[in-house]
Each structure stands twice: as structure tokens, then as C-alpha cells.
């Protein structure tokens, strides 16, 4: 079965610092990759996704992620974070299994940005 690892459970940054959140997955076949974000008190929402083509994907609010197939990674980056980026971030992998297309989530990374 596929699995997703997010190695940083809690990250604290000051505003304007650069951000990189790690995501590694284990699955040998074709995958689609997602980053979701959950702002305090809000719905989980899509930040960006990769399904084919350019491995560098740009999402909303200045976020980007790079798919490196050889490393089974899909790290999320932002060059300069803002206080409003405080949220929990989830990496997810959609892969075809015996039960159909299944989305598997990582454990989440809670980001706090200090003003």
C-alpha cells in the first residue's frame, strides 16, 4: 500500500523566511500529487497539484512544489512566508490500487509564522 511521510510535524518561522516542507511517498506506479492546506477554522483546500508535465508546479498564494521522481518526493516551497500562511499543510498521493483511485495523506505539518 502507498504511504506518505511528512517529516516535519511542527515548523515555526518568522515572516519573510523561506519555507520548505518535505513530502516523500512510497508507490512504484504512476501517481498524482497534491498539497492541501487547512487554515485555522477553515475547510481543507487545495494548494496545488501535479499530475503530468512540468515537475515544478505553481499553486496559489506564491507556493510551489517540485516533483522529483527519483527521490519519490514532492516538497512544498515558498520563498517568503507571511503571517497569514499559518496553517496545517498536508501532502497527499492519489494512486491506482485494487480498490480504485485512493488518496493517501501524510501526517500533516503545522506551520506557525511569527509576525
Amino acid at each position: 500500500a502507498q504511504s506518505v511521510s511528512q517529516h516535519n510535524h511542527h515548523v515555526i518561522l518568522s515572516e519573510a523566511a523561506s519555507l520548505e516542507l518535505g513530502c516523500n511517498y512510497s508507490y512504484g506506479g504512476t501517481v498524482n500529487l497534491f498539497w492541501y492546506v487547512q487554515y485555522p477554522g477553515q475547510h481543507l483546500q487545495l494548494l496545488l497539484k501535479y499530475f503530468s508535465g512540468d515537475p515544478l508546479v505553481k499553486g496559489i498564494k506564491g507556493f510551489e512544489a517540485e516533483f522529483i521522481k527519483s527521490k519519490f518526493s514532492f516538497n512544498l516551497r515558498k520563498p517568503s512566508v507571511q503571517w497569514s500562511d499559518t496553517a496545517e499543510y498536508f501532502c497527499a498521493v492519489n494512486a491506482l490500487t485494487n480498490a480504485g483511485n485512493m488518496l493517501t495523506f501524510g501526517g500533516g505539518t503545522r506551520l506557525m509564522v511569527k509576525p
Binding site: V4, F34, Y36, L44, L46, K49, A99, L103
Partner: protein
């Protein structure tokens, strides 16, 4: 704009009670999902449904059942609630077809079982 709604934001129940969590989506999506979200564990899939009256077990179905009588509604049932089912429950929907399609999530129901 896709909308997924859940019947309650907060729910407190007693051990042994039967609990119903309701989810409704307004985008005519074929696929619907129930997850539970726990700190450090992310979201784990309980059950999903790819059509009316169709259901499939996810990763952690034990202690849960589901019902999908209408396309827009997907219910999660805890037959006899236990304290280890205290959690945040998230419903999601997705259209059929390409697996690159996004899942759309509801606001969540925070269930506490005493």
C-alpha cells in the same frame, strides 16, 4: 462553487450511543469520502462511495458503517460510539473520471465521545 456541507460542526455523545454524521454536496459528484483527522496521523480514509448504494471500505472501517441512498448525501454511522472514536470527521466529494481531479472537503465535524 463546490459546496460540501456537514450537518454538525461539534457533537458530543456518550459511549454506546448510535451516531449519525451527515454530508451533502451540491455538485453532482459521483464519489464521496469519509475521513477522520487526528493529530500527527493526517487524514485516514474510513469509507468511500463511488455511486448511489455503492460503498467501499477504506483504511480504517472498523466500528463504522455508511449509507448512500441519494447521490448528494453520504452518511457515516457509528453503531456504538466509543471514546477512541473521538476525532475530527471530514467528508469530501470528487467527480468521477480523471484521478487528477481535486477532492472538495466539508468543514468537518468534531466529535467527542464521553
Amino acid at each position: 462553487d463546490v459546496k460540501v456541507t456537514q450537518s454538525s460542526r461539534y457533537l458530543v455523545k456518550r459511549t454506546g450511543e448510535k451516531v449519525f454524521l451527515e454530508c451533502v454536496q451540491d455538485m453532482d459528484h459521483e464519489n464521496m469520502f469519509w475521513y477522520r483527522q487526528d493529530p500527527g496521523l493526517g487524514l485516514r480514509l474510513i469509507y468511500f462511495s463511488y455511486d448511489v448504494k455503492m460503498k467501499e471500505k477504506g483504511d480504517i472501517p472498523e466500528g463504522y458503517s455508511v449509507s448512500r441512498e441519494k447521490k448528494e448525501r453520504f452518511s457515516l454511522i457509528l453503531e456504538s460510539a466509543s471514546t477512541n472514536q473521538t476525532s475530527m470527521y471530514l467528508c469530501a466529494s470528487r467527480p468521477s473520471g480523471s484521478r487528477s481531479d481535486t477532492q472538495y472537503f466539508g468543514p468537518g465535524t468534531r466529535l467527542t465521545v464521553l
